[in-house]
Amino acid sequence: MAAFLQFTFSGLTVGAVYALVAVGFTLIYNASDVVNFAQGEFVMLGGMVTIFLGYAGIPVPLAAVFAVFITTMVGLALYRFGIAPARDASAVTLIIITIGASIFLRGIAEIIFDKRFHSLPALFGSDPIRIGGASILPQTVIVLASALLIVCLLWAFIGRTLYGKAVVATSSNRMAATLVGINTRTIVGACFAISAAIGAIAGVLVTPITLTSYNVGTLLALKGFAAIMLGGIGSAMGAVVGGVLLGLFEAFAAGYLSASYKDAVAFVVILAVLFAMPQGLFGKRMVERV
């Protein structure tokens, strides 16, 4: 029972990160039909920039704010220089562009930072809390709570504000949105920026637990993709549920089956979902006009 709880806690922790990556994916995908492979790099940058600014002498909280800001700028730049110029490119071309961006960011991180693993101090210390024979880090609780908070804020923004409605309009039909006066370029750019910010925040919060290095982005992006496949591409609720479920599957597979094949779980999930239930748990089926 204690083992089960332990796996659940670790599953929820990574699941929360996957959920945030997936939410970032979904925001961009809905606004622009782009599957942004560089999403994982936003998480990496959040953690790494905070760490290295910290080494440079800046107090960690301030460094974190700067890191989120810098990553947001990177997200905007990705849209402005990578996506916007590639007008009417096919879905595959766009994915290759974002893969190129992800490799580029990874390459830059390799040079500016280094290749080692780094960490950040936890917010409320590293003494674990014991619940039912299992222990959970306070940082984990913070990650989970923040994930929930971010998703709620996003939901409120999308549903309640005028800008949020503009995002929804742009997602449903870009041409129509342009015709009613919405500046879709600004909206899509904003979505990239928000996604980058969400990714960076996730990176800052989770680094105390999982550590970070220049190349964590790739695997994170793939797992984020597995999460949205599971949850249903285009659905924000699906992104969260998919992310958490994926985290749990991974933790249980690692605990009860084989630790070294932990990373394979995400891919098995991708392939299984694609063959059995391509629209995912909450996805909408698109009807194609002949």
């Binding site: 599957v35 595959v92 290759i96 070294s260 891919f267």
Partner: protein, 321 residues
Amino acid sequence: MLTRTDRFRRLQRHRLFPLIPLVAVIVVLPLLFPSAYYFRVAALVFIFAIAALGLNLLMGFAGQVSLGHAGFMGVGAYAVAIGPSQLNIAPLFSFVLGAAFSALLAFAVGRPILRLRGHYLAVATLGFGVLLTIVFTNEAKWTGGPDGMAVQQLAVVNWTLRRVSTWYWVLAASFLVSAVIALNLIDSPTGRALRAIHDSERAARVLGVDVAQKKLAVFVISAVYASVAGSFFALINGYITPDVSGFLRSIELVAMVVLGGMGSVVGSLIGSAVLVILPQALTIFHDYEHAILGLTLMAVMIFLRRGIVPSLSAALSGSHK
């Protein structure tokens, strides 16, 4: 009465015509090589050109996508590594077995995977490639794990392939054979069906093309090409690690295809040449290798989507007007 120009036109239209300048370059080049190092670089160019050619058949002609193709290179590479050292199978036979196993694997996963399209297909193939890499990394008993394993040299009867200049000729010939097969395929009923599938699967189906079967066929063929390249890679290096099948490798292959030109056989060689030679030539930029790869990929997909060879030939034929 056929004039000289008519005869040249006829020759120009022959499907193997693009290979003529290629053969000329291949024969002349070694005369300019100052050292063994150049032979080795050229050998590597041919190896990756074979893999890129296979991927080009899948992506450039049939219009599919595979972001995990290096996985098949890995299968070929580990086949020639594991066969002789762990199973006592001769290197040449291991080579063939590797290709056969790749074909089988492609056949098995191809049917379900190729039902997907667009980014679903992209991510499914990516996932497949990463899965293979995870297996190669974890099954250390067979593969030597993340540190890799040594590969015996290729030996046939008494003779061992040792000198790098011999590798040059062997690989040049192999690339030419691969190119001939690819050009044969393109100028055939199957080739036309594949190119049709690229533009409209629906129309191809109503004209009687069994789209699923054709896509599977080109997927298997491209897997065999990658496997052959992977085997050669392992043999020439004498050592392999799991990154031979890794995500970055798969993306490099895609970069070669798009850079050289989707749908251009010669383009596969050009793309491979650029991506193999440039990092060697700019060793001062070695640390920036990944950053440059990423930037190149983005730039090509945004500005030069058709790739070098098709853009060049379009520019050249345009200037004849």
